[in-house]
Amino acid sequence: MANISGKYCIVGIGETAVGKRPDATTNSLHLEAIKACLDDAAIKNSQVDGLLTNQPLNDSHRSYAVKLAHMAGIDPLFATDLALGGATPIAMVQLAVMAIDVGMATTIVCVHARKRSTADPTPGHPIRRGDEHWEEPWGHFAAAGGHAFAASRHMYEFGTKSEDLAEIAISTRKHASLNKNATMRKPITLEDHQNSRMIVAPLRLLDCSLESDGGGAVLVTSAERARDFPKKPVAILGMGQHHPHFSLLDAPTLTTLGGKKSSEMAYKMSGLGPKDMNFAQIYDCFTITSLITLEDYGFCKKGEGKDFVKNGRITIGGQLPLNTHGGLLSQAHLEGQLHITEAVKQLRRNEVEPERQVANAQMGIVSGHGGSLAMHATLILGAI
């Protein structure tokens, strides 16, 4: 297997303002993110020859990537939609690397936007999750339910408590409080977490991520071409995926997820390990998702996540700052697109508020997680 580690780079990023964007549409948010990304990279749309995107949640249809490319004035030699839920933004970067590596394109924009906080009057059909007709007749409707099953089981197997999950919510909120482009910026306490209303027991409101409007994009090219771009390139060092089940009905376990094999592949490709990471942007649709992923990624042993997240270890200034932008829990839920852009900003340095900058950020790991705790993708990024 040819090792792509370090041969491809992210040379541009774009983020829109997030939160409530009543005047925007799903389409306009995608275009806004693409424009911000190309401006950041200082290149024209005519110089981009590939586009990857996620199936839009509010309007699933064929070939959104091709539609979007032409809406953005891009004539793509390579374009497709991916549909791996919250693992999609990372999977897009991985596919961009593969497409460039085999010579099908040179410069690919990967974009995803969501319109979930305010109504999108654009006509269209919402995307299905799949197999919900084997869940909904019994009153199981929500992602909160699926993740509550994992939390309940993790508590049963390892003695994890709601107060342990609170550590993740509190630290993530602290990071959001330092981020000007975050939706929820008021710091929270353990008491706030424990007093927040139960959504699906054992998960409380403050264990749950936001519903957001917004978008993000990254531009991928070869390390060779990356030298021509004005911003400091960030190298793609390792990547992996694993999708160990599809629905709750065929999950072999809910306490070890795809992150284990996915991270093992990414570590092997990069020649790095958990101890080399200066920060982690770990998918946090619910607090339990991050706890399980920290274990699966080898930052601690299985079942020890509850101790790992304590004593400031996951807060900026600690051993492994987690979700330095405020994550899906407190910044915005764009299916992890902003976990990637934040990692790039941390590695470029001087692009975030000074109090949010991780000191000596050289390498970081990013995770994506989708569906019924089913899909997983990993990216290891490094400063050049």
């Binding site: 909904e136 089981r153 699906v200 027991a201 054992p202």
Partner: protein
């Protein structure tokens, strides 16, 4: 498809009785029998949802068998918020993942006890709840 105030699909509360692979399952539920597909080749239970080829060995031939209805709770949760009008007056209610003795798992409800009395690992047995157009398998603690 109708949408809610945020433009999302309205949640569906009923099973699809006419899904070709699942038709025998729903017909048996109507007769208060819990059934599953058993592979004629590897003899394993397919699991759910029903499908045309064995998920273990990919053989096509299978038979529908009646299960014991016994199972164990793999995980349990309690909904304190309703995502569907039909559940507004039911919260808090239990939803459980029940692993069936012969193989296969269902998303279902453990009924006949309070949500907080449902414990992971507890043995449960099937009971059937009849609705005008369909019958759902649910579970109760084994006495």
């Amino acid at each position: 498809m109708s949408k809610d105030e945020r433009g999302r699909a309205t949640r569906r509360g009923e099973p699809y009785l006419d899904e070709p692979e699942a038709k025998p399952f729903w017909a048996a539920c109507r007769e208060h029998k819990l059934t599953a597909q058993r592979c004629s080749s590897c003899k394993k239970i397919f699991g759910f949802p029903p499908q045309a080829f064995c998920p273990h060995c990919l053989a096509r031939e299978h038979e529908w068998v009646t299960l014991s209805g016994k199972g164990t709770v793999y995980s349990q949760i309690a909904y304190h918020r309703s995502w569907h009008p039909a559940y507004q007056d039911k919260i808090p209610y239990n939803v459980s993942l029940v692993d069936l003795q012969e193989g296969g798992r269902l998303v279902t409800n453990v009924i006949g006890c309070a949500p907080e009395e449902v414990i992971i690992g507890m043995p449960v047995e099937v009971v059937f709840e009849d609705f005008p157009d369909y019958t759902l398998p649910k579970f109760r603690p084994v006495k």
